[in-house]
């Protein structure tokens, strides 16, 4: 997926890292080894676009790493320069309070993302998130697309979290699994939870 993203967004590299449950960086993958090196480097020095995107829960978009605005990361900026990276765009993979990691795009030249590239990057980040969550493929209009739309899904997620005493991520996985197993739309199942027609219990899959 990183390679596909790198090709469609005109990036020199795309990286993705996933946090483990206790908030320490887990595994990372990248479209090429150099890129992976950059991602891992951030955790060694403790600063960079991806780490900031994760901790602030918002994208960090830096179209020109040399313009002085990135002086907030002295070590990271210098290392990026040495590695020939001119621009970096980091997107948290998150659904509300659940965060799984960060999806980051690197460019060798300094240039901002166009509106189309931005929409594409957000879609890649969504698909990566959903795939990591439970491995269910997100279709073209996709669960990822539906996710961003429906308050009912997020409300049901909160309810299931309390019903089962599980994490928010786990609650979403259960909701999606139920929709998938029953061949129903995610929002329909969510509405059943909200109207109390459906209650999740331990042992359900």
């Amino acid at each position: 997926m990183c390679v596909a993203a790198a090709e469609s967004i005109e990036a020199s590299g795309v990286g993705l890292w996933v946090m483990s449950k206790d908030g320490v960086p887990g595994f990372s993958v990248a479209s090429d080894p150099g890129c992976q090196q950059v991602e891992e480097f951030q955790f060694t020095v403790g600063e960079g676009a991806s780490t900031d995107a994760f901790s602030s829960r918002r994208p960090i978009l830096v179209p020109d790493l040399a313009d002085g605005l990135s002086s907030r990361w002295p070590v990271y900026s210098a290392a990026m320069h040495d590695l020939g990276v001119g621009a970096v765009f980091a997107f948290p993979m998150q659904v509300g309070a659940s965060r799984l990691g960060v999806f980051t795009i690197f460019r060798s030249r300094a240039a901002g993302l166009t509106a189309e590239e931005l929409a594409l990057a957000l879609t890649f980040a969504d698909v990566a998130l959903m795939t990591l969550l439970d491995g269910h493929e997100a279709s073209s209009d996709g669960l990822a697309g539906a996710m961003t739309h429906q308050a009912a899904v997020f409300q049901a997620q909160g309810m299931i979290m309390v019903q089962l005493g599980v994490s928010l991520e786990e609650a979403l996985i259960r909701l999606r699994a139920r929709a998938y197993a029953d061949g129903r739309a995610l929002t329909d199942v969510a509405r059943d939870v909200l109207t109390r027609r459906l209650r999740f219990q331990h042992g359900d899959s």
């Binding site: 605005l69 957000l122 739309h149 409300q155």
Partner: protein
């Protein structure tokens, strides 16, 4: 509808300025802005939608529950004054809902059934872009906005845009994207927290939201921050009481 009182306008202006120079949370700010707007023009309800990076409008804030439902109804049916203001970048002013069935065949009867008679919508503009819209609903057909009111409400819509851009001293186009994405995600956290409280206290989703809001007010907390605490630390639920 009478023209806006200077005294009320001054109060809102001071509050907005106070907020914008200080640390603030965008969802909380937009929510208060809808309530102040309703107050200012004696509107029954005010709602606000923002466009995400894919150009789709998303619900962000409303002065009260009814407005939230009407905004969602517009989104679901892809029709209504907010969408018109968003698409045309021009305000929709003094639309009489009882005679708007031709313009909005689904929305107009639905809004009338909910007790509303008039509607106005204002685009949230940023240079050549439109990034959202603000809806004002009235319960009386004669609740017209005077020309002066129209300028005031458009200015409030512009303030919402400014609040979104406001961050540090840096001005770059990426900030809007960063802020929008952060605001959309905060909105999701609030929905998740509503679900948690609805289940834990056996309330409807709307009652759960009222309970969270009331607790935020009592404890002087920002809505988004409180919602985040609720979904990440279930022991916080004990502090919330039914409305």
């Amino acid at each position: 509808m009478t023209a806006v009182s200077t005294e009320r306008l001054a109060r809102v202006f001071v509050e907005v300025a106070d907020t914008l120079v200080d640390e603030f949370e965008i969802i909380d700010f937009l929510h208060r802005l809808t309530m102040r707007t309703a107050d200012l023009v004696d509107a029954a309800a005010v709602g606000l939608l923002l466009a995400d990076q894919r150009g789709r409008l998303q619900f962000m804030a409303a002065s009260q529950e009814q407005a939230r439902l009407l905004e969602l109804f517009q989104l679901q049916n892809d029709e209504g004054p907010c969408l018109d203001a968003f698409r045309t970048a021009a305000p929709v002013v003094n639309a009489d809902l009882s005679t708007s069935g031709g313009r909005w065949p689904r929305f107009a009867p639905h809004a009338v059934a909910a007790g509303f008679r008039s509607v106005h919508a204002f685009p949230l503009r940023l240079r050549s872009e439109v990034i959202g819209a603000l809806n004002v609903f009235g319960t009386e057909a004669e609740a017209r906005l005077e020309e002066q009111d129209v300028h005031v409400v458009q200015a409030i819509a512009d303030i919402a845009t400014i609040a979104l851009l406001q961050e540090r001293a840096i001005r770059r186009s990426e900030i809007l994207t960063e802020q929008l994405q952060a605001a959309l995600n905060s909105r999701i956290i609030i929905e998740q927290a509503k679900g948690v409280i609805a289940q834990a206290l056996d309330l409807s989703i709307d009652e759960a939201f009222d309970a969270i809001r009331a607790y935020a007010r009592r404890s002087n907390r920002q809505l988004g921050e409180l919602a985040h605490d609720i979904v990440t630390d279930l022991t916080k639920i004990e502090e919330i009481t039914p409305p």
